[in-house]
Assembly symmetry: C2
DNA sequence: AAGTTTGGTAAATAATATTTACTTACTATT
DNA sequence: AATAGTAAGTAAATATTATTTACCAAACTT
């Protein structure tokens, strides 16, 4: 028995593409199934053949985005040595992603988290995988003496992502534009050296 | 012409209380207007007399919560000198609030941000006011030489709230329980001194 | 060639947010 | 005291929209 290449039927692809297109200018909640169906050129019923409900369709689109992002991140990290250097790169990549994919920034930061199903979805599985990557790097840094050992790795991860997300949130909500490089540099510096003024605080060696 | 004390009619109060009660165990989206009306002991129509829509009712409940929180914060800060000490207290108060008001933590962190109206609501006005307080403290700290002057105040604020919110998010989603004091201490230490291991990093003087 | 799966349609259903038209009671004014 | 006006509240109608159901046709299996 050969394994069939599970190529998606055209209708399914059209639905997914329509969803992505509509999300470009519209909020998830404001989209109606009928609208999605019309844009995709299929009937409403077909959407429910391939997706459990409207949210499930969103999660699918999001999952595809995360898949690309994870590939990109793995690639970005190649050839970089040292936990702090890796974290620095991850911070940059994350900010760059939010800046260049405003739609997904909006969805991820604002629109998807208010359903319990999201945290059970395959999309969120990929978020977990990403988290693991970070935690591993942090632990590597602690073991190597690069990162303080008196802070739990989970808190460090929360600080990194909390800071990034909160910073990007303002950009999403109020449509501000900031240079990715500047933001990444500032956030890295802040998280690595802290906000307190001290003997070595203002001269980041990195 | 005397100014009338604008005392809320009983129906309105019943609606607000019903909403608060229902939110205790239920997610906002899952609540129906009819359910809220039945719980409040009023008819559905009355809800629309006092609130523009379901969301507006949520924003009202949230606003009342923020009002109490702001009063509490102002009080918490009294008698504390030094920007870093004030920030430390604010971090503690914020974490304490999320820990002791899990319902509002859920609403604020997950359920309310996916509507544009929220960012125009009176509830969000109070968030802005809170933000101003923080920014002022940060600038005070920079002026006094307590806080690094090469980091924009906005980024510092984002780091503080991003870290707090991200940390509390995990607790809300996965129902973890962590001691407020421990979390506050760790987060403060992390933000003040950074994650990088350095000569003075592991011996916080605060 | 018969049976079964797959891609797809079209209309019915059901849930539920919101509106409308209407009552009743109170408050102020002359 | 009569009346106009307003605020609190009701009950039912409406309208939107997600979701389900029943059905069709082509393709694939054996």
């Amino acid at each position: 028995m050969e394994r069939q290449t599970p190529v998606s039927p055209p209708g399914k692809l059209k639905i997914i593409n329509a969803m992505r297109t509509l999300l470009e200018n519209r909020t998830f909640e404001s989209l109606t199934i009928s609208e999605i169906a019309v844009t995709a050129g299929v009937t409403e019923g077909l959407i429910y053949k391939y997706f459990k409900d409207k949210r499930d369709l969103l999660h699918h689109v999001l999952k595809e985005h995360y898949q690309l992002f994870l590939v990109q991140i793995e690639r970005d990290l190649q050839g970089i040595d040292g936990a702090l250097n890796k974290l620095k790169k991850i911070i940059w990549s994350s900010i760059e992603r939010y800046a260049n994919h405003r739609v997904f920034a909006r969805i991820i930061l604002l629109e998807v988290r208010n359903s319990e199903e999201y945290f059970q979805s395959e999309a969120y599985d990929l978020v977990r995988r990403f988290n693991h990557i970070i935690i591993d790097i942090i632990n590597e840094g602690i073991a190597a003496g690069e990162i303080r050992e008196d802070l739990p790795a989970g808190y460090i991860r929360n600080a990194i992502f909390g800071t990034i997300e909160h910073s990007c949130l303002n950009r999403v909500i109020f449509n501000e534009t900031v240079s990715t490089n500047d933001a990444a540099k500032l956030i890295t510096d802040l998280l690595f050296h802290g906000i307190k003024r001290s003997c070595n605080g203002s001269l980041p060696s990195l």
